[in-house]
Each structure stands twice: as C-alpha cells, then as structure tokens.
Symmetry: C2
Subunit: 438 residues, 2 copies
C-alpha cells in the first residue's frame, strides 16, 4: 500500500479542523505515519459555506454514500455527531471493510458494544480518541500507556461547559445564570445547554472511560447523573471558605470488584490537582495500583484540539495499513470474550461525606431540630457554619457531615425539607476528599 485514502463525513467545526490538518500538514503526517494520508472525499450537506480552507482536489458531495461506495477509501471519518445517521454510516463503512474514526461520544456510549462488535466482525479498526476529552490522548493513555496497571479509580472534569460555568462562578463570583450566559456568549455553551449542565455529556464520556479502564460496558442510564444547575454562588463561597472547590466530576471506582460510576457536583480540597483545572479545560485523574496518581490535562473541546485527536487515530491506522496489519488490538485493548464481572454499587449504598445547605427561618431551635433529624438517621455532623442574616429571606445553615450512607441522607433530607422552618429546598453536595485513598 502506498497511500491511505480518507473520506470525511461532516464538515462542521471539527471536520473543518481535520481537513485543515490533512491538507496543510500532509508532509508532517507522512513523516509520522510512514505513508501519505490523503483526504479524498468529503460528504457534507452544507457545501456553500466558506470555511477558510482550500479543498482543492477533494471530491465534495452531499451524500455519505459517495464515500461508502468508493472502494479506494480505506478510512471513513464520521464527524456529524448524534445517533443517526452516524450509526448507520459507521456500520455500513465497517461492513464494507473500511476502518472508521469517530468523535461521537453519545453514539459510543449508547451503542459502543454494537460498534465494537461490528469492527471485530469486519476485522477493521475503530478509532475514537476524539470522543473523550478532545485533545487529551486519554484513550491511548488508558489502552496503552497504563495498560499494565489496574485502575483503582478515575476522576474526570470532562465537560468544558460545566467547568467553565463553575470556574466563572468561583473566580468572578457570578451567579449560575450569569455564568451560563457568559459561557454561551463565548461559544463554550450551546443555546440549549441541558446536555452539558445536566451532566449527560459527562455521563456519556464516563461510559467510554469505564470501558477503557475496566473492560466493562455500562449503559448511560446506569451512571448516576446529577447536573450543576442547583449550585449557587453561595455554595461556591462557603466551599471556598472551608478550603474546598466545587467541580462537576465523573467518578469511577473499582473497590474490590464493586464498581462505582457516577456524575455529580463534587466538593474536593482546594489543593487537589483537579481543583485548579479552570476555564473550559478538562482533566482526568487516574489512580493506578502501580503508577499511583496520574493526571492528564488539556482542552477537552474545540476545533483544533479535537481535530488533532482524530488525526492521531488516522496516523495510528496509517501505521498499521503501511504494514498490512488489521486490528492490532481490540478497540478497548482487552482480549478474550470474558468481560471482567463487576457488580455496580447502587447509589443508595454510597458512603461519602456531605456538604449540606439548609435555607431556614431565623428562629431559635432550628439548628437543634435539624441536627436531631440527622442524628436519628445516624448522620454525624463534622462542622457547622451559620453566618448572621445579611438581607431579607432565609438564613443558611451549612453543615459538613462525616461519612454517611446516601440512603440515610436522602431520607433525612426529605424529612428536613418537610419542616416548616425550612424555607426552600436544601442542597447537598457530595465530598470526595480522599481521591487517592482506596
């Protein structure tokens, strides 16, 4: 083989970045892959928009079929996102013995096993480095760099939008809605931000990370998912006062064969490396049995970081094609049919410390009543903050608890929220202050 021919489906932001790299860095890519990588065809519905790149010599069409049916094309890159028609295009490409590269985290989270099986049946590669944490090469780090290690836990800031909002609330002392607006005006958040701020995008990526770390396929709905919408600037300020930061974390832990996989706002110590991951940056903190803690930090989204990740998959497949190798390893880097069995820990059985904020009426006896309910549920209080009333409305009692079972806490919270002295919904945030101790 003397050249690798690529077909690109989708010329949106990332697709344009990939085209730019393939066109402008052709000599560099050849030096890296050992074989020229040529962008032969692009399929895109909107072919009229000027994207600032010269697509000279590349066959353009509105139909992905033109790529699928071209026998010269060895790699199909899918960058249209969403479930359909992305899924059908990838399956069809693999059925036609084309290798595929995708950045489609939603599709991989929902249909990963189907896609990986199709790649096995067709004996082709499926590259998905760009699907998690954009420019951070976390797929290769877990599948290759840390392949010899047992991953005890993995904790990630893997949604740039949420991290941007929480960082803005922290650094600029803005409200959630102001910070969201700022994120939208800067292009860090979509007009409909739900996928990001409700944690679903993070959960999709966590499904992929769990598969890479443990060889276990979760369904997205098996990941407990809670977003950041209820976090107020007050909680950020109190957490700061206590030496903590609030981050939306994806957490996976494997504690003696019991798997935790959850996404929720989390309070971590201000000195933890994840605490200083600001703006729209991503970071993944991995705790390996041998390696100890390792952290990977970088841009989780954007045209060029994500396009760079797609390119690394193209080089990887190019290096294989040059030698005539197909499927050097399974997509997740695990051999054998038997997937390691892991029971998933039900959320109710989770034990963590908690930050709780109770908005209450300013009246004697309230604190005693609340702590009584907590005590009845076996929840022990570590510390309490209550500042004097600063304006009309409720005063806020802040408590940090010792480790308590989620089920007990939920029951206690429901009971407390029914108290007439409680003037709004109380908020609790789980604390992870020992990410390295497992």
């Amino acid at each position: 083989m003397d050249v690798v021919q690529v077909g690109l489906v989708g010329l949106g932001t990332v697709g344009t970045g990939v085209a730019k790299i393939l066109i402008e860095q052709a000599a560099w890519l050849e030096r890296r892959a050992g074989i020229p990588i040529r962008l032969k065809r692009i399929a895109e519905l909107d072919l009229d928009r000027d994207r600032g790149i010269r697509l000279h010599g590349i066959a353009l069409s509105r139909d992905a079929k033109d790529i699928l049916e071209d026998p010269d094309i060895q790699i199909t890159v899918e960058l249209i996102g969403g479930i359909e028609p992305a899924r059908t295009i990838l399956l069809e490409a693999m059925a036609r013995k084309k290798h595929v590269v995708t950045a489609n985290k939603a599709l991989l989270a929902s249909n990963g096993p189907e896609l990986f099986e199709a790649s096995s049946d067709a004996d082709v590669e499926i590259g998905f480095e760009a699907s998690v944490a954009g420019g951070i090469p976390i797929v290769r780090c877990l599948r290759e760099g840390l392949a010899g290690d047992r991953i005890l836990s993995l904790t990630g800031i893997i949604n740039g939008t949420s991290n941007y909002i929480l960082s803005t609330m922290t650094d600029q002392r803005r409200s959630f809605s102001e910070s969201l607006k700022q994120a939208q005006s800067l292009g860090y958040a979509e007009a409909d931000p739900r996928l990001d701020i409700e944690g679903h995008d993070t959960a999709h990526k966590l499904v992929i990370l769990v598969a890479l770390a443990y060889g276990i396929h979760l369904k997205p709905q098996e990941v407990f998912t809670e977003g950041i919408r209820e976090i107020t600037e007050m909680d950020i300020a109190y957490a700061g006062e206590l030496g903590y930061r609030i981050k939306l974390l994806a957490i996976a832990k494997n504690v003696r064969g019991i798997l935790e996989a959850r996404v929720h706002p989390t309070i971590i110590p201000a000195h933890h490396p994840l605490a200083s991951v600001g703006q729209a940056f991503n970071a993944i903190y991995v705790n390996g049995e041998s390696v100890g803690p390792v952290m990977f930090y970088g841009k989780g989204a954007g045209m060029m970081p994500t396009a760079g990740a797609v390119t690394s998959d193209l080089i990887d497949i190019g290096r294989n094609l040059r030698l005539g190798i197909r499927r050097r390893m399974p997509p997740l880097g695990f051999y054998g049919d038997i997937i390691e069995k892991a029971a998933i820990k039900p959320m109710e059985a989770l034990c963590t410390k908690h930050y709780i904020r109770f908005p209450v009426v300013d009246r004697p006896g309230v604190l005693s009543k609340i702590s009584g309910v907590l005590g009845n549920h076996g929840i022990s209080i570590h510390s309490v903050i209550q500042h004097g009333r600063q304006n009309a409305g409720p005063v806020h009692i802040i408590m940090l608890t010792h480790e308590a079972r989620e089920a007990s806490l939920q029951q206690a919270m429901a009971e407390i929220n029914r108290m007439e002295e409680v003037l709004g919904k109380s908020l609790f945030i789980r604390i992870e202050d020992a990410l390295d101790d497992l």
Copy 2:
C-alpha cells in the same frame, strides 16, 4: 506464538517491581496483551537478598549471558542503569534478534542513535517508556497520542529530587541543605545527589523528549544545564511575594525552526499548572499547534510507577508478537531518513525576563550604580524590591527585568559582581511567564 518469554537483567528496585507485576498480575497482563507474558530468567549479581517476592520457577543467574544465549527469550529487559555493561547487553540482545526494554535514560541520552540504529538493523523493538518521568506515559503520548501535532514547546518538571527540594524550601521555608537532607532521609535523593541537583538527570531526559517531539538527537552537552544549588530560601520567598514559584525546568522550544533546549531553575507564575506540581511529582507541559496546552502529571520515579511503565512496553511488544509484527514503527515514531533540520539557539542569544538578587552593602547610591550598569547593557528594569536590613550581613536588592539577551545580562552581571559594594555573588533566575505564547 503462544507465549512471550522475558529475561530481566537487574533485580534492583525497579527490576523487583517488574518481577512482582509479571508474577502477580499474569492473568491481567494476558488479558491486555492477548498472549501470556512469562518471566523466564533473571540475571542479578546479588541473588542473596530477600526482596519479598516469590521467584518460583524463574531461572536465576549472576550472568546476563544466560539470558542473551537463551533462544526462547524474546524480550530482554535491562534495568541495571549506567552506560556499561548496560549498553553492551542491549546491543548484544538486539544482535540476537531479541526485543529490548530499558529505563536507562543516561544511556539513551548518550547513545540513543546507536541503540535505535541497532534496533533498526536487527528489526526488533526498543521500548523506553520508563526512561522519562516514570509512571507518566509521556513516550506514548508524544509518539502516538500527539503524533499528528506539531509540538511548539515542551516544559517539564522531570527530576523528582530537585522538585522535592524546591517544594520543601517553598512549603516549609527550609534552606536548600536542610531540604536536601530531608530528601535524602526519605529516599528521594541519593547520597551523592549531584546528578539530580546539578540538572544532569533532567538534561538526559530532555534529550529523550526532544528526540520524541522533534525527531532531533541532541548530545547531552548540547543542552544548557544549570542546577538548583544556588537557590536560597530568600529567593523562594521573594518569588512568592511577587506571585511566582521557582522550579527546575527542562525547556524545549521550536520557534520557526530554531530549537531551544535548556535546563535551569526557572521562575513561573504561581497560577501556572506546573507551579502546583509539588513533592517528588513530575509533570510535562506540552504546547501543541493544534491541541494547545496539555499537561501530564504523575510520579516520575519509584519502584512501582517505573515498573508499570516497563510493563506497558512489554504489553506493547507482546501485542505485536502475538500478530507476528516486528517494529510496528521506528522507536521515535518518525519515518524517513531525513531528520528535520533545526539550528540550536546559542544560549547567549536567548531572550528572557530575569529575577536578579544582588547582595550589597547598605549604603546610598548602590541601587543607582547597579541600575546604571544594567542600563549601559540595554537591560531595562521592570521592578525593584529592597526590604530593610534584618540582621548583620548584606542587604538584598531584588530586581525583575524586562526581556533581555542572555549575553548582555551575563556581561552586566560580571561587571556588577566586580563592584566593591557587592558583597557576594549575585544570583539571577530566568523567568518564563508566557509558556503558552509562541
């Protein structure tokens, strides 16, 4: 092929860790590599010491020859360190068509091209993930994860000993010598710490990183190298007061084809991700044209992190052997004979800002005289700190300069150090406050 047989030369700290993983995690490694990886032989001079692992069924000997001459052994792991006999063992193993894995940074820095050529001649792989930054998979990150990107700059904290000392000086306000003693008592520093604190170990690793990032082989002596011995707790305190931290950095930059490669104590902003890399941790901050800034953080040394890195090389080679592939890619991940040409920037031509501390007699006119000399050499002052005298001895004038050429600064410093008002050697530390702007 149905099993990969490994011979291990050197059962020191890291060797023991590798043996431990190969013995205790055999099932996991087979699941990862797709083929059993069996430790068949160990060669070690000191076979009497109890290392707390059961070496049942492994052939032990005092002579590496027993490994080299065993035709069943496909991979030789060299973990004895130093130039000889490590070099001869690796060359001999490759000549006998054995793949090799090494953690030997000093050897790779001095003899990298010879070893890489031997691996090419013999058509075998040479794995060296463990040679830089221990448990951080930086070799794979540069050679595979970021393969599609142009590396603009790379900045590393890659010597745990020096970082431990500087962190202790910063966090516990101790002197250099107290911090060194503490590092030694905790096993972070050797009895003879020169290789670490004088920057040579860092320079060795930088040579390897430059090779991986740019495909350029430097000689260790081509890397400007300055250690941390002259840094005092006073400099740490002043830097802190100004919002900076002092770190021993390995810096490589490729600015329009001109390569900088240098190791020296460096002042960086306290908010930079590298500034919070504490203790004996390592981190490598890479600035890629597409990906932007990426940082990799973890333990740079120690038994198990380094052993984990060696294991990842064994899995990688195992995955290839399973398929009957030899040399999937060249050791640095660059194809072609032509190494990209880069002129090395002479140190004198370097332009940076500087922190300078002048120990002077407490007398009127000194500041004016010093700033006069700086002015004569075209060095412009950004700010000055001079605190009142606190005890006997000199007062210290601290200056931050604007960007100045190294040559001019050196000349000015020599002139100032000859002034009778200057009571000791003035110290300057280069500032890098724009690691992302290139």
